[in-house]
Every structure is written in structure tokens, then in C-alpha cells.
Symmetry: C2
Subunit: 227 residues, 2 copies
DNA sequence: CTTTAAAAAACTGTCGACAGTCGGCAGTCG
DNA sequence: CGACTGCCGACTGTCGACAGTTTTTTAAAG
């Protein structure tokens, strides 16, 4: 239920303007149409999107709460620019959440969860072969959302979803480089193996390794492309 | 830095209406002036507060992102009502965050942090003697915020702050009962002792115990007062 | 007296407009 | 030639209003 962040609309174009604007802004930001630190003009956005400023303002507040924008009073909204230490903090929090989640999941690992996760890794691997970087990221995030979901704490999942917007922000910094498909595959299969083993230490090791790899990848990428 | 919620303005009473309304709503909710599940009318609120609906709407979106309100499209905003499992989830996430934080803190436990925490426990104990329930809660939260702060991950602190609004919501459910001052004192001193010992396992045990007590207290309180 | 349906009231979503404020630019003074 | 001051444009914060929808009230039928 709470899993479908990638909304199943498309058909019914009857969604709040606020959410539509929020989606547009989110996409525009993670696709670098707006650069980090750039200022967003309310009037120009409302002109471009053909809506009034009220929905734009409310959407901006939404993105602010998600950490994609920051507001300076009387100045407007700016695209969030993550520095090195904030980036470390994001991955440290991710580690915190996922360590907890995988422990909880190990305690209640059902065949259903096992099946769903395995299936999602397949999907992810398939996506990793392709060229669509956005889809690869989304399928990756979806795997982790599934993990959090089956851990049985919806609030934990929400915390991860909040964080995931910032994770996307991190990843946009390094769109140039590509993680090798086999790296992604093995990294996720290790998680499944650890869960299958049923040993909490193994799960912890696997998730530590997994997130460590992702963090190093981003940190390295940022170092190369130069902030 | 991120600790000073009470910003250095004070002179110029120039604060966004949005924030003023948000503060008002927050207070009104945790003081049970609006009951859980109750619907908030935008027009009535704007009438009562003497402002237009725009700031009210933006403030409501803010509180929604903090988990104090939920919005139903075309229906409006409702005060969040936590059920038993959501309540469990909140405390489980709190455990997740604080376990991680106290580990990080143990790795970098400076005399400055030690001093600040000790001082805050003193303040908390003093507050626990008094009758002001709200202040006791705020001083308690402030202690934990300090812990998270000195853990050195501002993003982790933000996650806790997000959660803290829901914690207040939990606690409002049980305003009737009071935790004994000595219980609060010993519970926090155990945390300090564990940190002083420098042993990670001791820290983990202490935080598990601490949050377990708080959770049981709330769960028990909710069970008694019904809902 | 209960149930259904239609009309009215109230409310949300959205819009355009006005006022106060901020940043930049030109003109002026030292 | 450089620093200060006042003006100008652009923008944010806030407001009142309109349209469509939901809820409530009212009325009629069974």
C-alpha cells in the first residue's frame, strides 16, 4: 500500500495540482534541470506550469520537508546542495535504518517476503543491464523499500522514504559514472543469502557491506566530478 | 548550531505567519484542544486566528509532514490519531535512531558532551519535580536531542526531531498519569553511566532499557485511558 | 417512523491582486 | 577613484473571491 511511491496514476489526470507540481519539481531537480543552490522563482514556475502561485508554494513546502529544497525567508526557495559531511550523514542514517530493518526482517522472514525480494532483485538486475539510469535507481530503491516494508514497521519505511529523496539527490551528483551490473547483482544477492541463513550477524555484515559500497561509490563519484 | 530552535531574533517580531500558525496548531494539538481524529476547518481557523486561508493551508501541510495532521483530498485536514501498532512503530523507530546515536556518541565522547548531558539531566530532574508536564517532556526531549547532536550526525537529529512530534502526540494520550521523578532521574543517569563506562554493549543495554520503559509507560497509559 | 432523494449550506482547491520587502543600479559625495 | 545613498524593479507574503465538491438539512415517499 504505502509502497507505491511511483504512483499508479497516469490514467486519471485528476490529482491535486500540489502533487503534480511536486512531482514535476522532484523530477526536474533529480534530472539536474535545476542545479543545486539555484533559486526557484514562484512566479516563473507558475507561469511555466500554467497554474497559480498557491499550488507552487505548497508544493515547494512539501519538497522542503523532504529535504530537496530549502527556504530562506523573503528570499524564496533554493535547490538543496549537499556538502560532503551532509552526504556522509545521509548514508550513516541510511545505515541506521536498514540495519534495524534487516534485523527485524530476519526475525519474521516469511516465504512471501523472500519471494518478493528475490523477484525484485531479478527486476533490478534486468534494469541494471539497460541504459535508463533513473529506472535502475528506482528499482534499487524499490528493493530497499520492500525490505523495510516486510520488516513490519511502516514508520520506519516512511523514514526511509523521506531519506530516499536525499539519496536521489546524492545520486544525481554522479550521473556520469555507472555502477557495473554484476556489482549491483552480487551486492543484493548477498543480502538475500544473509537473510536465508537466518543469522543476525550475517545480515548485519551484509547490509554494512552493501551500504558501504553505495556510499563509497557516491563519495568517489562526487570527488571525481568535483562537487 | 542546529540546537538553537529559539533563533536569535526575539527583538523583531517578524516571523512568518505560517510558522506562527504552525506553532499555534502544534500547541493546540498536544494540549488536546483538538482531539485526535477531529477535522480542522480552514475557514474557521483563519477566522479564529485573524489570517487568511493561505498561511493556514501552508502551516497544515507543514504539520502533515511532521505527522501531526493527515490530509484527505477534498475533505481537509484531520488530527492524527495513532493506533496501537503505529505507537509501537514510533517507539521502534526511536529505538533504531537512539541505538545508532549512542553508539556513535560512545565513539566520540568528549568532556564537552559529557558536561552538557550531565547538565541537562540536572535541568530535567528539576523540571520533573514541578507540575508543568509540558516542560518535563520538553526537557526530556532536549536531553535526547543533545545526545543525537553530540553523536555528530545532524541528519540523524533531524530524523529524531521529525519523530519527536509524534512522540509528543503519544504522550498527550496519557497526560493523566505522571512518571515518578526518581524513575526519570535514574533512567537518564544510567545512560550517562553507560557512556562513561565507554563500553558499547553497556550503552546499548542502557538505551534499550530507557526506551523500553518509556514505551511501556505510554502503552500502559493508553491501555488505561482507553482508545 | 424509516428511507430515499433533492436542495442548501459549508468547505476545499485554485486563482488573481495588492502591499511590503529585498537586491541591484545609478547618481552623488568625499 | 571608491564608498555611500536613494530609487527601481522583481519577488514574496498575504488576502479576498469564485467554482466545484462534499456534507448536512430538508422534504417527500413508502
Amino acid at each position: 500500500m504505502a509502497l507505491s511511491t511511483a504512483a499508479p496514476r497516469a490514467f486519471i489526470q485528476q490529482q491535486n495540482l500540489v502533487e503534480q507540481v511536486a512531482d514535476y519539481l522532484t523530477q526536474a531537480i533529480i534530472q539536474q534541470h535545476f542545479l543545486p543552490g539555484e533559486r526557484l522563482s514562484e512566479v516563473q514556475l507558475s507561469r511555466d506550469l500554467g497554474v497559480s502561485r498557491a499550488p507552487v508554494r505548497e508544493a515547494a513546502r512539501l519538497l522542503e520537508s523532504r529535504g530537496l529544497l530549502i527556504s530562506k525567508p523573503r528570499r524564496g526557495f533554493f535547490v538543496r546542495a549537499l556538502n560532503a559531511v551532509e552526504l556522509e550523514d545521509v548514508f550513516d542514517l541510511r545505515l541506521c535504518l536498514e540495519r534495524h530493518a534487516i534485523q527485524r526482517l530476519a526475525e519474521r522472514y516469511t516465504p512471501e517476503a523472500q519471494c518478493a525480494l528475490k523477484q525484485q532483485v531479478e527486476v533490478l538486475c534486468e534494469a541494471a543491464e539497460g541504459n535508463d539510469g533513473t529506472r535502475r535507481i528506482e528499482e534499487d530503491l524499490q528493493f530497499h523499500r520492500l525490505m523495510l516494508h516486510y520488516a513490519g514497521n511502516e514508520r520506519l519505511l516512511r523514514a526511509f522514504n523521506d531519506l530516499s529523496h536525499e539519496l536521489r539527490l546524492c545520486i544525481t551528483l554522479i550521473t556520469k559514472t555507472h555502477e557495473a551490473p554484476e556489482t549491483i547483482a552480487t551486492s543484493h544477492f548477498k543480502l538475500l543469502d544473509a537473510l536465508d541463513s537466518g543469522r543476525p550477524e550475517a545480515c548485519r555484515e551484509a547490509i554494512d557491506y552493501h551500504i558501504g559500497v553505495a556510499r563509497d561509490f557516491v563519495v568517489k563519484g562526487v570527488g571525481e566530478t568535483g562537487e
